[in-house]
C-alpha cells in the first residue's frame, strides 16, 4: 500500500516537473519571438506625378503663337510675383501681400 502511494506520488511529481519545463520552454520561445523584429507591411509604390502626360479632355486647339504669348506673359507674371515675394521675405508685411501685380495676367 505504502509502495503504491509512493509510486503515484512519484508519477505526479515527474508529471508536474515535465509540465513546468514544457511551459517554461514555450514562454522562452514566445519571448524570443517577440524580441525579433516583425516584418513591416510593404509600403505602396510612391505615386508621384505619374500622370504628367495626361491631356485635359476639353482642351481647346491653340496656334503656337498664342501658346508662346501665354507662356511669355506667364513667365513675366511669375517673375514679378517672385520679386514681390522677395520683398515680403526681407520685410514681411501685410502690405506686401496686397500690392497688385502690373502683369497682364491679373489686369
Amino acid at each position: 500500500m505504502h509502495g503504491y502511494i509512493s509510486l503515484i506520488g512519484g508519477i505526479v511529481f515527474f508529471l508536474g516537473c515535465g509540465l513546468f519545463l514544457f511551459f517554461a520552454c514555450e514562454r522562452r520561445e514566445d519571448e524570443e519571438r517577440a524580441r525579433q523584429p516583425q516584418p513591416q507591411p510593404a509600403l505602396p509604390a510612391a505615386r508621384f506625378f505619374t500622370d504628367t502626360k495626361v491631356k485635359a479632355p476639353e482642351a481647346i486647339e491653340l496656334d503656337p503663337a498664342t501658346v508662346m504669348l501665354v507662356m511669355s506673359l506667364l513667365e513675366r507674371h511669375v517673375r514679378q510675383e517672385r520679386a514681390a515675394v522677395e520683398n515680403f521675405l526681407e520685410v514681411p508685411s501685410v502690405a506686401h501681400l496686397r500690392t497688385g501685380a502690373s502683369s497682364p495676367f491679373v489686369n
Binding site: 508621384f48 506625378f49 505619374t50 491653340l62 501658346v67 501665354v70 507662356m71 506667364l74 515675394v85 501681400l97
Partner: protein, 160 residues
C-alpha cells in the same frame, strides 16, 4: 585666407569649417550644362543635389495651355543657389523640372553618399541639415506668400 571662398558664401554651407568643406568637396563632381539642356525632370529619381557655380538654371512645372503641355516658368537660380534637395528628403523624387537657361556650371553630390556622410558625421550633418531646413523654409514661405497674393487678388476681383 579661406580655401573654399565660393562654397563658404553659399547658404547651404554656412558655418561649416574649411576641413568640413574639404570633406564635402572630396565627394563632389562638376557638371557642365549647355544652354537649354535638361538637368532633371519632375518625378525623376532624385539622386543628386546641386549647387550652381556659374550660369543660370531654370525651374519649371508642366502646365496645360489649350491642348499643349508646356513647361511653365517657376524660378531662375544663379550662382550660390542650391537645387535638388529632394536627394536628401524622401521619397527622393524631384518636385520640379530643371534645365540650363544659359550655359551653366554646377557642383553635384550623390544623394546617397551625402546622406551617409550626414549620418556618420553629425558635426557636419547637423549644420548642413539646419542650413537645408532654412533654405526649404524660405522657399515654402515664398510660395505661401505667392499663394496668399493670388487669393487676395481673387477676393478683390469678386468683392472689391
Amino acid at each position: 585666407m579661406s580655401t573654399f571662398p565660393i562654397l563658404e558664401d553659399m547658404p547651404l554651407f554656412k558655418s561649416l569649417s574649411s576641413e568640413q568643406l574639404a570633406e564635402l568637396m572630396r565627394s563632389a563632381s562638376q557638371v557642365h550644362l549647355p544652354s537649354g539642356t535638361p538637368l532633371f525632370r519632375l518625378g525623376d529619381d532624385a539622386d543628386r543635389l546641386f549647387v550652381v557655380r556659374k550660369g543660370r538654371v531654370e525651374l519649371s512645372m508642366p502646365m496645360q495651355i489649350g491642348n499643349k503641355q508646356m513647361d511653365a516658368f517657376l524660378e531662375e537660380l544663379g550662382p550660390g543657389d542650391m537645387l535638388g534637395w529632394s536627394a536628401l528628403v524622401e521619397p527622393h523624387r524631384y518636385t520640379v523640372s530643371a534645365s540650363a537657361h544659359v550655359d551653366a556650371e554646377l557642383t553635384a553630390w550623390n544623394g546617397a553618399d551625402l546622406r551617409r556622410l550626414i549620418a556618420t558625421d553629425p558635426r557636419l550633418g547637423v549644420p548642413l541639415l539646419q542650413n537645408l531646413a532654412t533654405l526649404i523654409c524660405r522657399r515654402f514661405h515664398g510660395m505661401q506668400a505667392m499663394w496668399l497674393r493670388e487669393l487676395q487678388r481673387t477676393i478683390s476681383a469678386r468683392i472689391g
